[in-house]
Symmetry: C2
Subunit: 416 residues, 2 copies
């Protein structure tokens, strides 16, 4: 079995190890929740101070031009693009993931409705286990369009292909499941959707910065994602939306605000969408939060997704190995796929007292999180997680389980 | 005529004068653009540093609970409420003004469609001179609902009442016009809309923190507004939406994300709107930008809107008096109403070379802005603008005009 000494050796040989110094992490913490809120790049504080003190405080309104505030969504989108296999001018960082998903779904339904061969399709296919806001946004959109659209909730990945059929207008899937860490086969599902005449929208919330992505190669039609998880953009940092060049001319979305206008400062009384990715924008963006997104992207620019993926799989393999070897006496069940191709960058185990065990772990400095039902979720972020952290986290988990050192009546926080 | 000495005397007697010290303003600047981007409260830098370094960097994911991030939209909404005559639990600070307007318009159309007596109304009334994004969002929404809604653009305030008729479902007006500074009579227009069976949605972008508001008394149905202008929340800071308690049960909007769910962490697969104002929320908010909104509200809490309005009118009266007295030889035309009740907190003059004159003013340290066609816009923000600033600004304007010291071929910035 792997020992702690082995882990230290692997850390000493890890080419990504030096990047950890670019994050501000509390020394006493083993942070395995970067899949929920990424750690803080050290540079983010200075960047925010500059935005607030100089760009806002001193240069004031002029910063829309001189500091490039107005172009920030596109500039950051271009910097994010290589991480997801997108081209320049195909991504903007803006709004929330939910709002961007609304735009993407609306645009995809619009493209389908405009196609004489496909205009009568009325089903939006997604998974019951998708992150709830994705389902809610689809319900919100389809309910309001009043053309009789409905949302089909599929119960398991195995049933997906059969559920995508000649009635399907749009398939909307989250690439890596937030609870289980299950990673869909993007290429196969995109090809199947297209063969059935459907368009496919991917939510990359748990994929961007976590697993290699090649949206063009894998046939995605549209995509959205999050910058505050694996991309370390800061709490609630604006999300992103990808519209490939081949779909930009047909891309129409109802949140047609002035930032998406062809000439926003002409102040014309009719909306005319901007050429290119700009039409995915809506209103004015929160500049301080937006600017910090660049600090996370700066760190990704020092490595590549292949190196990150290799370490991610090594970390999650190690965690699974150690939990099963050292905590095998306890009722833990692995819900994350063992198969690498089907695994994201997290590992989830169920335990009958999952919530209480997670609270005990957090109290001991091992921060993962809990998701209903009974799932303890551990995120592994190769930019700042060490092999020794994995060993230590399992050691503390074993100690808690062996000693039953958790409070099964613990009151639950509103946000867990 | 008022002299500079008179202005200094008024500054020395001004009860609001001490509040200026709470803003970080470049000493060499006369900043008359707080109607576009408010100045920086000094406290905002320390607040952001604490959010970034401690709440994000050290407490990480726990800050959703311990730092109250999840409740921030409601907590800030409650602090903003008194400035607009709203009650507790009626306002959230979230998303952009454009996105919030989309929610408000959708909700108002939904309320009308659900009413058997009014369900056949298909017209959304607004002004051609409204801020473009408001018109674009109305066009986007009405175009997508596919129930035959259309947007009626009214050419002048005088024609508004006649344009609101038995076909009108919803009237949407910006209370203070961004170009002219014209302030609508909210009570009269709301009463007229109701008499015609329409609902009325108010955009308070140029009103909140600028003029006294009493949404309940004046009969507004829904409202949205901006925090980065007169409220000094920071560049692109999240906007707000007001839903009075009387409309909350009927309020439905299509951007039904998880933050608007009755139980966001139950992760249920069907959307159920939260009780109360929470249903106006959608997705995760940009915490660093959001948190700074409180620093502006902290300054408003030290005074009241009556005092702010009295000084605002004194400043705008003084500016009009001095421009007309000292620059009377030049082709300047006042487009802002002289009547106090119809004036916001800005003064706009046209000049045939308005853009060039404004660039010359900015180069001399007097920062206003320019809006097509030919309008020079000067915003007056009583929390940090001095009477002597008004005198000095007019003095520099006169100097520029008398000397024709402006370049009529000046290249235009993308954002002006």
């Amino acid at each position: 079995m792997t020992t702690r000494k082995d882990c230290l050796t692997r850390d000493s040989q890890d080419a990504l190890a030096p990047l950890r110094a670019q994050f501000d992490l509390p020394p006493e913490l083993i942070y395995l929740d970067g899949n929920s809120l990424g750690a803080r790049p050290r540079a983010a504080l200075a960047r925010a101070q500059d935005v607030i003190a100089r760009e806002w405080g001193q240069d004031l309104i002029r910063s829309w031009n001189t500091a490039g505030w107005f172009d920030l969504p596109k500039r950051l989108g271009d910097r994010l693009a290589p991480l997801i296999g997108a081209g320049a001018g195909e991504v903007v960082v803006t709004d929330s993931t939910s709002v961007n998903l609304f735009k993407a779904l609306a645009a995809a339904l619009h493209m389908q409705a405009a196609d004489p061969a496909r205009g009568e399709r009325r089903v939006l296919v997604t998974e019951r286990s998708n992150f709830p806001t994705d389902i809610y946004m689809a319900q919100g959109l389809s309910g309001w369009l009043q053309r009789g659209y409905r949302v089909r909730l599929v119960d398991s990945p195995a049933e997906l292909e059969a559920a995508i059929d000649a009635d399907s207008a749009v398939v909307m899937l989250t690439h890596v499941n937030y609870r289980t860490g299950y990673q869909h086969d993007m290429a196969a599902l995109s090809a199947h959707a297209h063969a059935q005449g459907a368009l496919i929208v991917w939510d990359l919330a748990h994929s961007a910065g976590a697993v290699p992505l090649d949206l063009h190669r894998d046939g995605a039609d549209l995509a959205v994602g999050c910058t505050y998880k694996y991309l370390n953009g800061g709490p609630g940092a604006p999300a992103f939306i990808w519209v490939p060049r081949r779909h930009q001319a047909a891309f129409r979305q109802p949140l047609s605000g002035w930032w998406g206008h062809a000439a926003p400062f002409a102040m014309a009384p009719d909306f005319a969408p901007a050429d290119g990715i700009g039409r995915a924008l809506c209103g004015t963006q929160p500049i301080a939060s937006l600017a910090m997104v660049e600090c996370g992207l700066d760190i990704f620019a020092q490595t590549d997704m292949a190196a990150i993926r290799a370490k991610s799989l090594a970390l999650t393999d190690l965690f699974i190995e150690l939990v099963e070897a050292r905590c095998g006496a306890h009722p833990l069940e692995l819900v994350t796929p063992r198969q690498h191709a089907r695994r994201g960058s997290q590992v989830s185990f169920t335990h009958p007292h999952g919530y209480a065990v997670m609270q005990a772990l957090i109290a001991r400095g091992v921060v993962g999180d809990y998701r209903e039902p009974a799932i303890m979720r551990f995120g592994f972020t190769p930019l700042y997680t060490r092999y020794a952290d994995v060993w230590d986290a399992v050691d503390i988990l074993r100690d808690i389980l062996d000693g039953q050192a958790y409070d099964i009546d613990a009151a639950r926080d509103a946000v867990t």
